[in-house]
């Protein structure tokens, strides 16, 4: 089992994802955005950061990187893909996930630990019981998820909503989303559950020395699942 972590110009969490995966005992290697070969990788992570400075729109330029055509093919073949923060933004720009991410309502960058409620979903990357609350840092300026009403219905109906911003006790209130996200959506997956995008950063909470371990299952689940197949 080998994670591939894509480096786009301006990515800045790729080392953290690699560190987290290796810390948990998994193999992980970088993939340069100009490469077009994903052979040897079992799961692909698009890391956080500011690809192309987040200029024009977050993820707008990265989506055209040569590697993205391969990522799309990989995903369509059922390969697991996780986009964290900027990676999530790139996945929406690439239409691997529906919707878009707008500026946070407060117009401020936010970086803090955030309680998230795990929803019943098709996501292959996470098998925590629905209702579990995990504390994972958010760190973004454009995490305000939006999609049209029809898409939202579909997301709900298909179990594509994976994580929602909540209070520490798990209740999902209208003010719980620090960025104004529609329906408190923090993470979604595609219908099949192999493509997963989320604004919070699970890689920041795997090593107990740094802020907790609530991110561990975001890496281990997919490894187990792939091992079972």
């Amino acid at each position: 089992m080998r994670f591939g972590v894509v480096i786009f110009p301006g990515s800045n969490c790729e080392q953290d994802v690699i560190h987290a995966a290796r810390y948990l005992g998994h193999e992980a290697e970088y993939i340069w955005h100009g490469d077009t070969d994903l052979a040897g990788f079992d799961a692909v992570v698009l890391p956080g950061g500011f690809s192309y400075g987040d200029y024009i729109r977050c993820g707008a330029v990265a989506r055209f990187s040569p590697v993205m055509a391969e990522v799309v093919r990989f995903a369509e073949a059922g390969g697991p893909v996780m986009g964290i923060c900027n990676g999530f933004q790139i996945l929406t720009e690439a239409h691997l996930l529906p919707g878009a991410l707008l500026r946070n309502v407060g117009l401020k960058f936010i970086c803090h630990s955030q309680p998230l409620r795990v929803e019943q979903s098709a996501c292959q990357w996470l098998d925590l019981p629905a209702g579990t609350v995990v504390d994972i840092p958010v760190n973004h300026n454009e995490g305000n998820y939006i999609c049209d009403a029809e898409t939202l219905q579909r997301l709900k109906g298909n179990g594509q909503i994976v994580l929602r911003y909540c209070e520490p006790d798990g209740s999902v209130l209208s003010g719980s989303a620090p960025n104004g996200a529609l329906d408190n959506i923090a993470g979604i997956c595609n219908e099949r559950g192999n493509v997963f995008g989320l604004m919070p950063h699970p890689e920041r909470v795997v090593d107990p020395l740094c802020s907790g371990t609530d991110g561990v299952s975001f890496f281990n689940t997919i490894v187990q699942r792939l091992a079972e197949v």
Partner: protein, 80 residues
């Protein structure tokens, strides 16, 4: 050189946080006559002569705007 001005705005119904914030801020500053502010992008594009509108529209659809949330309008600009 030919020039095109491109106006990118949020689609109807999409909430625009910078616009909403500016609206409130103006009202708080005493500009009570303000009823709505929307903030989009104003892109000035310079291209070689003879570039077609279609070609510019393609650039917008691909990169300069996100059709999921944004509309765009293109205006060729007469050289001064």
């Amino acid at each position: 050189m030919a020039r095109f001005d491109i106006y990118v705005t949020y689609k109807k119904g999409i909430f625009d946080p910078p616009g909403a914030t500016a609206e409130r801020a103006l009202q708080n500053l005493g500009y009570e006559e303000v009823s709505s502010v929307k903030i989009g992008k104003f892109i000035q594009l310079e291209v070689v002569d003879g570039t077609s509108m279609d070609r510019v529209a393609e650039m917008c659809g691909k990169l300069l705007a996100n059709p999921v949330i944004e509309d765009y309008r293109i205006e060729p600009v007469e050289e001064a």
